[in-house]
Symmetry: C2
Subunit: 155 residues, 2 copies
DNA sequence: CTCTATTAGTTTCATATGTAACTAATTGAC
DNA sequence: GTCAATTAGTTACATATGAAACTAATAGAG
Protein backbone atom coordinates (compact mmCIF):
# COMPACT_ATOMS: atom_id res chain seq x y z
CA UNK A 1 0.00 0.00 0.00
CA UNK A 2 1.33 3.42 -0.92
CA UNK A 3 2.37 6.02 1.62
CA UNK A 4 -0.39 8.21 0.35
CA UNK A 5 -3.10 5.82 1.47
CA UNK A 6 -1.30 4.69 4.59
CA UNK A 7 -1.10 8.23 5.86
CA UNK A 8 -4.60 9.02 4.67
CA UNK A 9 -3.14 12.07 3.09
CA UNK A 10 -3.63 13.24 -0.43
CA UNK A 11 -0.51 14.17 -2.33
CA UNK A 12 -1.56 15.47 -5.68
CA UNK A 13 1.63 14.28 -7.36
CA UNK A 14 0.86 10.71 -6.39
CA UNK A 15 -2.86 10.84 -7.05
CA UNK A 16 -3.65 8.76 -10.13
CA UNK A 17 -6.42 10.91 -11.62
CA UNK A 18 -4.16 13.93 -11.39
CA UNK A 19 -1.18 12.11 -12.87
CA UNK A 20 -3.26 10.76 -15.72
CA UNK A 21 -4.62 14.19 -16.48
CA UNK A 22 -1.21 15.85 -16.53
CA UNK A 23 0.36 13.12 -18.64
CA UNK A 24 -2.52 13.06 -21.09
CA UNK A 25 -2.53 16.84 -21.43
CA UNK A 26 1.20 16.94 -22.06
CA UNK A 27 1.00 14.27 -24.73
CA UNK A 28 -2.13 15.72 -26.31
CA UNK A 29 -0.65 19.17 -26.47
CA UNK A 30 2.44 17.89 -28.21
CA UNK A 31 0.41 15.93 -30.72
CA UNK A 32 -2.00 18.80 -31.28
CA UNK A 33 0.90 21.11 -32.04
CA UNK A 34 2.26 18.60 -34.50
CA UNK A 35 -1.01 18.22 -36.42
CA UNK A 36 -1.68 21.93 -36.39
CA UNK A 37 1.82 23.00 -37.37
CA UNK A 38 2.24 20.48 -40.15
CA UNK A 39 -1.27 20.23 -41.52
CA UNK A 40 -3.49 22.90 -39.95
CA UNK A 41 -5.70 20.27 -38.34
CA UNK A 42 -7.15 20.06 -34.87
CA UNK A 43 -6.95 16.82 -32.94
CA UNK A 44 -10.68 16.27 -33.58
CA UNK A 45 -10.34 16.83 -37.26
CA UNK A 46 -7.50 14.37 -37.32
CA UNK A 47 -9.50 11.79 -35.43
CA UNK A 48 -12.30 12.12 -37.93
CA UNK A 49 -9.88 11.75 -40.81
CA UNK A 50 -8.26 8.75 -39.16
CA UNK A 51 -11.46 6.75 -38.85
CA UNK A 52 -12.80 7.91 -42.19
CA UNK A 53 -9.57 6.84 -43.82
CA UNK A 54 -9.86 3.50 -42.09
CA UNK A 55 -13.60 3.09 -42.74
CA UNK A 56 -14.75 5.01 -45.82
CA UNK A 57 -18.46 5.73 -45.90
CA UNK A 58 -18.79 5.88 -42.12
CA UNK A 59 -21.52 8.12 -40.68
CA UNK A 60 -21.00 11.01 -38.27
CA UNK A 61 -22.70 9.13 -35.46
CA UNK A 62 -20.46 6.12 -35.92
CA UNK A 63 -17.44 8.37 -35.98
CA UNK A 64 -18.53 9.70 -32.63
CA UNK A 65 -18.64 6.21 -31.19
CA UNK A 66 -15.29 5.24 -32.63
CA UNK A 67 -13.52 8.40 -31.49
CA UNK A 68 -15.15 9.15 -28.14
CA UNK A 69 -16.28 12.49 -29.52
CA UNK A 70 -19.76 13.86 -28.97
CA UNK A 71 -21.92 14.57 -31.97
CA UNK A 72 -21.43 18.32 -31.79
CA UNK A 73 -17.69 17.92 -31.93
CA UNK A 74 -17.98 15.51 -34.84
CA UNK A 75 -20.30 17.87 -36.67
CA UNK A 76 -17.88 20.73 -36.29
CA UNK A 77 -14.83 18.71 -37.25
CA UNK A 78 -16.60 17.37 -40.34
CA UNK A 79 -17.70 20.85 -41.36
CA UNK A 80 -14.13 22.10 -41.03
CA UNK A 81 -12.72 19.23 -43.05
CA UNK A 82 -15.24 19.71 -45.83
CA UNK A 83 -14.32 23.38 -45.85
CA UNK A 84 -10.66 22.40 -46.15
CA UNK A 85 -11.50 20.07 -49.02
CA UNK A 86 -10.34 16.93 -47.24
CA UNK A 87 -13.71 15.31 -46.71
CA UNK A 88 -16.75 14.72 -48.83
CA UNK A 89 -20.27 13.97 -47.69
CA UNK A 90 -22.95 11.96 -49.44
CA UNK A 91 -26.39 11.35 -48.09
CA UNK A 92 -27.19 7.71 -47.50
CA UNK A 93 -29.67 6.41 -50.04
CA UNK A 94 -31.31 4.10 -47.58
CA UNK A 95 -31.61 6.71 -44.81
CA UNK A 96 -31.85 10.38 -45.67
CA UNK A 97 -30.68 11.46 -42.22
CA UNK A 98 -27.43 9.60 -42.36
CA UNK A 99 -24.35 10.96 -44.03
CA UNK A 100 -21.65 8.87 -45.63
CA UNK A 101 -18.23 10.37 -45.33
CA UNK A 102 -15.21 9.86 -47.56
CA UNK A 103 -11.76 11.36 -47.83
CA UNK A 104 -11.29 13.39 -50.97
CA UNK A 105 -8.10 12.72 -52.97
CA UNK A 106 -6.52 15.69 -51.16
CA UNK A 107 -7.71 14.20 -47.89
CA UNK A 108 -6.18 10.86 -48.83
CA UNK A 109 -2.87 12.56 -49.47
CA UNK A 110 -2.90 14.27 -46.08
CA UNK A 111 -3.98 11.07 -44.43
CA UNK A 112 -1.10 9.15 -45.94
CA UNK A 113 1.32 11.83 -44.84
CA UNK A 114 0.07 11.99 -41.27
CA UNK A 115 -0.12 8.29 -40.47
CA UNK A 116 3.63 7.66 -40.45
CA UNK A 117 4.31 10.90 -38.60
CA UNK A 118 1.79 10.04 -35.91
CA UNK A 119 3.17 6.52 -35.57
CA UNK A 120 6.68 7.90 -35.30
CA UNK A 121 5.60 10.32 -32.58
CA UNK A 122 4.05 7.43 -30.70
CA UNK A 123 7.19 5.40 -31.15
CA UNK A 124 9.35 8.19 -29.73
CA UNK A 125 7.00 8.66 -26.83
CA UNK A 126 7.23 4.99 -25.95
CA UNK A 127 10.90 4.62 -26.77
CA UNK A 128 12.06 4.61 -23.14
CA UNK A 129 9.88 1.55 -22.46
CA UNK A 130 10.94 -1.92 -23.46
CA UNK A 131 8.46 -3.75 -25.63
CA UNK A 132 7.42 -5.83 -22.60
CA UNK A 133 6.78 -2.65 -20.70
CA UNK A 134 4.78 -1.26 -23.59
CA UNK A 135 2.61 -4.34 -23.65
CA UNK A 136 2.19 -4.21 -19.90
CA UNK A 137 1.22 -0.54 -19.99
CA UNK A 138 -1.34 -1.29 -22.64
CA UNK A 139 -2.77 -4.11 -20.58
CA UNK A 140 -2.95 -2.03 -17.41
CA UNK A 141 -4.59 0.86 -19.19
CA UNK A 142 -7.20 -1.48 -20.54
CA UNK A 143 -7.95 -2.72 -17.06
CA UNK A 144 -8.24 0.82 -15.78
CA UNK A 145 -10.48 1.78 -18.65
CA UNK A 146 -12.84 -1.01 -17.71
CA UNK A 147 -12.81 0.15 -14.13
CA UNK A 148 -13.54 3.74 -15.04
CA UNK A 149 -16.12 3.18 -17.74
CA UNK A 150 -18.84 5.83 -17.58
CA UNK A 151 -21.56 3.18 -17.76
CA UNK A 152 -20.41 1.89 -14.41
CA UNK A 153 -19.39 4.97 -12.44
CA UNK A 154 -17.57 4.13 -9.27
CA UNK A 155 -18.31 7.38 -7.52
CA UNK B 1 6.18 -4.95 -32.26
CA UNK B 2 2.48 -4.27 -32.42
CA UNK B 3 0.34 -4.98 -35.45
CA UNK B 4 -0.32 -1.29 -35.70
CA UNK B 5 3.28 -0.45 -36.39
CA UNK B 6 4.00 -3.55 -38.40
CA UNK B 7 1.21 -2.77 -40.81
CA UNK B 8 2.06 0.91 -40.82
CA UNK B 9 -1.55 1.55 -40.21
CA UNK B 10 -3.05 3.76 -37.56
CA UNK B 11 -5.83 2.26 -35.51
CA UNK B 12 -7.09 4.94 -33.22
CA UNK B 13 -8.12 2.45 -30.54
CA UNK B 14 -4.55 1.23 -30.26
CA UNK B 15 -2.88 4.62 -30.53
CA UNK B 16 -1.43 5.56 -27.17
CA UNK B 17 -2.09 9.32 -27.23
CA UNK B 18 -5.72 8.61 -28.04
CA UNK B 19 -6.08 5.94 -25.39
CA UNK B 20 -4.49 8.17 -22.78
CA UNK B 21 -6.80 11.01 -23.68
CA UNK B 22 -9.94 8.91 -23.50
CA UNK B 23 -8.94 7.27 -20.24
CA UNK B 24 -7.95 10.53 -18.63
CA UNK B 25 -11.14 12.25 -19.74
CA UNK B 26 -13.30 9.43 -18.42
CA UNK B 27 -11.58 9.49 -15.05
CA UNK B 28 -11.51 13.27 -14.85
CA UNK B 29 -15.14 13.54 -15.70
CA UNK B 30 -16.10 11.10 -12.97
CA UNK B 31 -13.98 12.90 -10.43
CA UNK B 32 -15.22 16.31 -11.51
CA UNK B 33 -18.80 15.14 -11.06
CA UNK B 34 -17.96 13.91 -7.61
CA UNK B 35 -16.40 17.17 -6.46
CA UNK B 36 -19.11 19.24 -8.04
CA UNK B 37 -22.03 17.16 -6.82
CA UNK B 38 -20.78 16.80 -3.28
CA UNK B 39 -19.06 20.12 -2.71
CA UNK B 40 -19.78 22.48 -5.59
CA UNK B 41 -16.11 22.61 -6.54
CA UNK B 42 -14.40 22.43 -9.89
CA UNK B 43 -11.38 20.19 -10.35
CA UNK B 44 -9.16 23.26 -10.39
CA UNK B 45 -10.61 24.61 -7.20
CA UNK B 46 -10.06 21.24 -5.60
CA UNK B 47 -6.46 21.12 -6.78
CA UNK B 48 -5.84 24.52 -5.24
CA UNK B 49 -7.44 23.41 -1.97
CA UNK B 50 -5.44 20.22 -1.99
CA UNK B 51 -2.06 21.91 -2.20
CA UNK B 52 -3.07 24.76 0.08
CA UNK B 53 -4.23 22.25 2.66
CA UNK B 54 -0.94 20.45 2.29
CA UNK B 55 1.19 23.60 2.25
CA UNK B 56 -0.50 26.51 4.04
CA UNK B 57 0.82 29.91 3.06
CA UNK B 58 1.72 28.83 -0.48
CA UNK B 59 1.61 31.49 -3.21
CA UNK B 60 -0.51 31.36 -6.35
CA UNK B 61 2.56 30.95 -8.54
CA UNK B 62 3.80 28.00 -6.51
CA UNK B 63 0.34 26.47 -6.65
CA UNK B 64 0.57 26.70 -10.41
CA UNK B 65 3.84 24.78 -10.42
CA UNK B 66 2.58 22.13 -8.05
CA UNK B 67 -0.70 21.57 -9.88
CA UNK B 68 0.28 21.98 -13.53
CA UNK B 69 -2.20 24.83 -13.81
CA UNK B 70 -1.40 28.07 -15.56
CA UNK B 71 -1.55 31.27 -13.58
CA UNK B 72 -4.85 32.39 -15.04
CA UNK B 73 -6.50 29.15 -13.99
CA UNK B 74 -5.02 29.47 -10.52
CA UNK B 75 -6.17 33.06 -10.25
CA UNK B 76 -9.71 32.11 -11.17
CA UNK B 77 -9.84 29.10 -8.88
CA UNK B 78 -8.50 31.16 -5.97
CA UNK B 79 -11.04 33.91 -6.62
CA UNK B 80 -13.84 31.36 -6.61
CA UNK B 81 -12.66 29.74 -3.41
CA UNK B 82 -12.37 33.06 -1.63
CA UNK B 83 -15.89 33.84 -2.82
CA UNK B 84 -17.04 30.51 -1.38
CA UNK B 85 -15.34 31.30 1.90
CA UNK B 86 -12.94 28.37 1.73
CA UNK B 87 -9.74 30.28 1.14
CA UNK B 88 -8.13 33.34 2.62
CA UNK B 89 -5.44 35.52 1.14
CA UNK B 90 -2.79 37.55 2.92
CA UNK B 91 -0.20 39.64 1.18
CA UNK B 92 3.35 38.55 1.87
CA UNK B 93 5.14 41.03 4.11
CA UNK B 94 8.45 40.51 2.40
CA UNK B 95 7.06 40.82 -1.14
CA UNK B 96 3.98 42.85 -1.81
CA UNK B 97 3.22 41.05 -5.07
CA UNK B 98 3.09 37.64 -3.54
CA UNK B 99 -0.02 36.27 -1.89
CA UNK B 100 -0.05 33.76 0.91
CA UNK B 101 -2.99 31.45 0.82
CA UNK B 102 -4.65 29.57 3.66
CA UNK B 103 -7.73 27.44 4.06
CA UNK B 104 -10.36 29.08 6.25
CA UNK B 105 -11.91 26.91 8.98
CA UNK B 106 -14.78 26.18 6.58
CA UNK B 107 -12.20 25.31 3.93
CA UNK B 108 -10.43 22.99 6.36
CA UNK B 109 -13.70 21.19 7.01
CA UNK B 110 -14.33 20.66 3.32
CA UNK B 111 -10.75 19.60 2.79
CA UNK B 112 -10.99 16.99 5.49
CA UNK B 113 -14.20 15.70 4.00
CA UNK B 114 -12.88 15.46 0.47
CA UNK B 115 -9.55 13.78 1.09
CA UNK B 116 -10.95 10.40 2.14
CA UNK B 117 -13.59 10.50 -0.59
CA UNK B 118 -10.98 11.22 -3.24
CA UNK B 119 -8.68 8.49 -1.94
CA UNK B 120 -11.57 6.06 -1.92
CA UNK B 121 -12.42 6.93 -5.52
CA UNK B 122 -8.80 6.33 -6.46
CA UNK B 123 -8.83 3.03 -4.60
CA UNK B 124 -11.94 1.88 -6.46
CA UNK B 125 -10.47 2.95 -9.74
CA UNK B 126 -7.35 0.91 -9.11
CA UNK B 127 -9.12 -2.00 -7.44
CA UNK B 128 -8.89 -4.32 -10.46
CA UNK B 129 -5.10 -4.03 -10.39
CA UNK B 130 -2.99 -5.98 -7.94
CA UNK B 131 -0.67 -3.86 -5.84
CA UNK B 132 2.26 -5.00 -8.00
CA UNK B 133 0.37 -3.87 -11.07
CA UNK B 134 -0.39 -0.56 -9.42
CA UNK B 135 3.28 -0.01 -8.68
CA UNK B 136 4.21 -1.00 -12.21
CA UNK B 137 1.65 1.36 -13.70
CA UNK B 138 3.00 4.16 -11.60
CA UNK B 139 6.53 3.42 -12.74
CA UNK B 140 5.58 3.24 -16.40
CA UNK B 141 3.65 6.47 -16.23
CA UNK B 142 6.63 8.16 -14.72
CA UNK B 143 8.82 6.96 -17.58
CA UNK B 144 6.31 8.19 -20.10
CA UNK B 145 6.05 11.53 -18.36
CA UNK B 146 9.78 11.96 -18.67
CA UNK B 147 9.58 11.06 -22.33
CA UNK B 148 6.78 13.51 -23.00
CA UNK B 149 8.00 16.43 -20.93
CA UNK B 150 7.21 19.74 -22.64
CA UNK B 151 10.78 20.95 -22.11
CA UNK B 152 11.99 18.22 -24.42
CA UNK B 153 9.34 17.89 -27.12
CA UNK B 154 9.79 14.83 -29.26
CA UNK B 155 7.88 16.17 -32.21
C1' DC C 1 -51.93 5.16 -44.41
C1' DT C 2 -51.26 8.43 -40.29
C1' DC C 3 -49.55 10.03 -36.30
C1' DT C 4 -46.25 9.79 -32.48
C1' DA C 5 -41.70 8.64 -31.03
C1' DT C 6 -37.04 8.21 -32.21
C1' DT C 7 -32.76 9.19 -34.59
C1' DA C 8 -29.03 11.95 -37.37
C1' DG C 9 -27.10 15.92 -37.52
C1' DT C 10 -26.90 21.23 -36.92
C1' DT C 11 -27.43 25.52 -34.57
C1' DT C 12 -27.77 28.33 -30.51
C1' DC C 13 -26.39 29.88 -26.26
C1' DA C 14 -23.99 30.02 -22.06
C1' DT C 15 -19.69 28.87 -20.00
C1' DA C 16 -14.73 27.51 -19.92
C1' DT C 17 -10.27 28.23 -21.37
C1' DG C 18 -5.83 30.20 -23.07
C1' DT C 19 -3.15 34.13 -24.90
C1' DA C 20 -1.91 38.51 -24.48
C1' DA C 21 -2.22 42.89 -22.44
C1' DC C 22 -2.22 45.02 -18.25
C1' DT C 23 -1.23 46.71 -13.13
C1' DA C 24 1.47 46.71 -9.18
C1' DA C 25 5.46 45.54 -6.80
C1' DT C 26 10.38 44.29 -6.69
C1' DT C 27 15.06 43.77 -8.25
C1' DG C 28 19.31 45.09 -10.08
C1' DA C 29 22.49 48.03 -12.78
C1' DC C 30 24.31 52.28 -12.67
C1' DG D 1 18.46 57.09 -5.24
C1' DT D 2 16.56 56.23 -10.28
C1' DC D 3 15.09 53.78 -13.93
C1' DA D 4 14.80 49.66 -16.95
C1' DA D 5 13.80 44.84 -16.56
C1' DT D 6 11.52 41.21 -14.21
C1' DT D 7 7.91 38.96 -11.53
C1' DA D 8 3.08 38.09 -9.24
C1' DG D 9 -1.25 38.23 -10.25
C1' DT D 10 -5.59 40.08 -12.73
C1' DT D 11 -8.35 41.49 -16.59
C1' DA D 12 -9.91 41.47 -21.37
C1' DC D 13 -10.64 39.28 -25.45
C1' DA D 14 -11.09 35.70 -28.69
C1' DT D 15 -11.93 30.89 -29.25
C1' DA D 16 -13.39 26.22 -27.69
C1' DT D 17 -16.64 23.41 -25.69
C1' DG D 18 -20.96 21.13 -24.12
C1' DA D 19 -25.94 21.10 -23.14
C1' DA D 20 -30.13 21.85 -24.92
C1' DA D 21 -33.14 23.29 -28.53
C1' DC D 22 -33.98 22.61 -33.09
C1' DT D 23 -34.74 20.54 -38.12
C1' DA D 24 -35.31 16.85 -41.08
C1' DA D 25 -35.97 12.17 -41.86
C1' DT D 26 -37.32 7.48 -40.45
C1' DA D 27 -39.61 3.86 -37.84
C1' DG D 28 -43.25 1.73 -35.63
C1' DA D 29 -47.94 1.22 -33.49
C1' DG D 30 -52.44 1.21 -34.65
Amino acid sequence: MSDEVKKNRLRLREFLPYRLSVLSNTVSRGIANLYDREFGLTIWQWRVMAVTGDTPGISATDIGQRTAMDKVAVSRAVAGLIELGYLERKTSESDGRRSQLFLTPAGQDIYEMIVPIALEAERKLMAPLTSEEQAELSRLMQKLAGSASPERPLW
